[in-house]
Symmetry: C2
Subunit: 94 residues, 2 copies
Amino acid sequence: MPTIVVDVMPKAELLDPQGKATTGALARLGHEKFENVRIGKRFEFQVAGEVTDAVLDEVRQVADDILSNGVIEDVVAISVDGAPVADALAGEAR
Amino acid sequence: MPTIVVDVMPKAELLDPQGKATTGALARLGHEKFENVRIGKRFEFQVAGEVTDAVLDEVRQVADDILSNGVIEDVVAISVDGAPVADALAGEAR
């Protein structure tokens, strides 16, 4: 079954306290060269049957409406079996 | 500055209650075709200076030791500016 991956990140203009804490921890542990850590979510799921354009539209809709909170998060990437899907941000452009 | 992305997922053999709940919610909302949702983390950070082999080794070490919990999670991918880094799972093979 095809595997779909949806990546969701906190919006760039928002503070990410989790990421800030991780940046600080890395610095304290001697990894000062890594900066501006931001932590998002990665959803992996299988889809029954073939991935048609209609299924991709449904994936985009689910990513925008259910898997992410549009107020504080952006869907940054959608891929099918490792291949990026163009127009992953269709929901924003609409 | 180069952007590094580290993807961490719960190990395949472990139950992912968050993902199970999401699978159930999708089905209840009419998206039955999406199955076996698993939810992991996506870390994005910048690195000061050039990404040399030594820096990549440090990234792998940080991914294995700090960004993921090896008991329950796997580092599934590391990429630099969108290009996958081979041997992302070096920590496991060592």
